[in-house]
């Protein structure tokens, strides 16, 4: 069945509402044709990554939208930028002038288009970024897509650059994939019930489980069975690692995530096609993959907050530091959102972090180039996602370890 356009869609496509809306509709229509969709579904909100500078096309496209009268159809939130507005020394303009100036201009344009300035990869850590259960939305950044689908039960496919903002402009997406009931059914069960309690108490478990699921699930939809309990920070780590290691856009957790009260519910009443029993050796293999350092190098940097730290994670960090100073020569970069930083300031957490020598970094992340100031050698992270990307993109030895060991190592000046 061919896709029939309504009057408004046809108007946009014919260019009656300007060249920007025409291109947006053309891209959303192309997405429908490519995916074989036969209808569109209206969306309620969008979280876009097109605002993250990725070369001249991203900037030229945004300038085009602004000049040609683009109008948003839904509330639209911004993913992290390449730069931090209040910490220009993080990625100095002198080192990469085109990228930094481009990123700054891109932030201005998306604000001028009417996007809300969240500049975070974890929009779900603030009320406006949490679409209700069952809502159709546009997600782009991979962990946010995973969290929105898995933990909130709102529905989105992973929309790439250009397409995400186009969908926000026309307020609709092709009705396929994770927007449909059938597309959300678990097909691959990961049985973790045989793991010992030591593992279930291990803060690294969600990260490592995410890597295991990501590498094994392929194009299927995973469901984790036998995990006794997990809060939002653990689920964030799970989906972020799964997305980094294997493009996971949705993973159910039996008894924990909203579409998986039972295994049967998660799989839509159909028996799963595959079961993988996850054992300690699988988790150890995942951990080994995340560390490239020998471990005895002098520690230079500790990167935390990928995805952006929640207020609870920030409070735990500050409590663990407990006023102690970082060792000489160690840089600690803690990425988070403006919203979490504002709450941290109310609670005095920012001052306590600064007193220990740590830096709160807003609007951006540290795992991608150009390399952030301070990441000039052996770097520790408590994030599987950071480690997964950082090992390929940053050209420094890295190691993945728990927040507790990140803190103790930062104070000691070596990996402990």
């Amino acid at each position: 069945m061919a896709l029939a356009l309504d009057e408004q869609e046809q108007r946009w496509l014919d260019g009656h509402d300007g060249a920007a809306m025409q291109l947006a509709m053309r891209l959303v229509l192309a997405a429908a044709e490519v995916s074989g969709a036969t209808s569109f579904v209206p969306i309620e909100s969008a979280h876009i990554n097109s605002c993250h500078y990725s070369g001249s096309l991203s900037l030229d496209f945004a300038e085009f939208l602004l000049a040609e009268g683009a109008v948003l159809s839904v509330p639209t939130h911004t993913n992290a930028s390449l730069i931090s507005c209040d910490l220009p020394t993080l990625r100095p303009e002198a080192a990469t002038p085109t990228e930094v100036a481009g990123a700054r201009r891109l932030m201005e344009i998306y604000e001028a288009l009417g996007c809300s300035s969240m500049w975070t990869c974890a929009p779900y850590q603030q009320p406006e970024g949490r679409p209700p259960f069952g809502a159709h939305v546009v997600g782009s950044e991979s962990n946010a897509v995973g969290f929105t689908n898995s933990v909130l039960g709102a529905r989105t496919n992973k929309y790439g650059d250009l397409l995400d903002i186009s969908a926000a402009l026309v307020g609709r997406v092709p009705f396929v994939g994770l927007h449909t009931d059938e597309g959300r059914r678990a097909t691959h069960r990961f049985d973790v019930s045989g793991l010992s309690d030591v593992w279930f108490d291990d803060p690294n478990l969600p990260h490592l489980l995410g890597v295991v699921v990501g590498k094994a699930v392929g194009a299927g939809i995973g469901v984790i069975d036998g995990w006794p309990s997990a809060g939002e920070d653990e689920l964030k780590a799970l989906v972020a690692a799964g997305a980094a290691a294997g493009g996971v856009d949705l993973v159910h957790v039996v008894g924990i995530t909203p579409e998986a009260p039972t295994l049967e519910a998660a799989s839509g009443g159909v028996p799963v096609a595959r079961t993988t029993v996850v054992g300690p050796e699988d988790l150890a293999a995942a951990a080994a993959e995340l560390t490239t350092a020998a471990g005895d190098e002098p520690l230079r940097a500790v990167c935390l907050g990928t995805p952006h730290f929640s207020i609870d994670e920030l409070a735990e960090l500050v409590d663990r530091l407990d006023g102690r100073r970082l060792a000489e020569g160690v840089t600690m970069l803690v990425t988070t959102s403006r919203a979490v930083a504002a709450e941290a300031a109310l609670r005095g957490l920012d001052d306590r972090l600064a007193a220990s020598g740590g830096s709160l970094v807003l609007d951006t992340c540290t795992y991608y180039p150009p390399r952030s100031t301070g990441i000039d050698g052996f770097t520790l992270t408590n994030s599987a996602k950071w480690a997964y990307y950082g090992r390929g993109m940053l050209d420094v030895p890295i190691a993945f370890t728990s927040l507790e060991r990140c803190v103790e190592s930062a104070v000691a000046g070596r990996w402990v």
Binding site: V34, N49, L57, G160, D161
Partner: protein
Amino acid sequence: MMGPLVLEGRWLVEGELRGAVLRLDEPLSFWGGFDPVTGRIIDRSHAQHGVSLAGRVVAMPGSRGSSGTPGVLGESIRRGTAPAAMLVTKADINLVAGSLTAAALYGTSCPILLVASEVFAGLVDGARVAGPPTSSL
């Protein structure tokens, strides 16, 4: 001399498709795997690392699209380092979006033709091919 093999397939982005096939042995992610400045494959794990795609009819098996793909492909189209056209076995919206946007912004695109796996399997590296008719012809 025989004329080019006229391919059957479905246009994802219509345009001029004519030339010698450069067949990739494995999927390529443009983001992180291709340098739009030089037009070469920079993914060290790719079997054809270092090969230039500029101006070639690139036959790509499967897809390794990422959300950064449109930016890289679009940038290479702008710079003139992109493939002259692409033959794919799997429709990838990120390639299509990059090409369509370059067409709107710069007036030049990279035509993309979706071909069946059997057609792809029969493509020999260096074979001269041409695309099917476009709607505008």
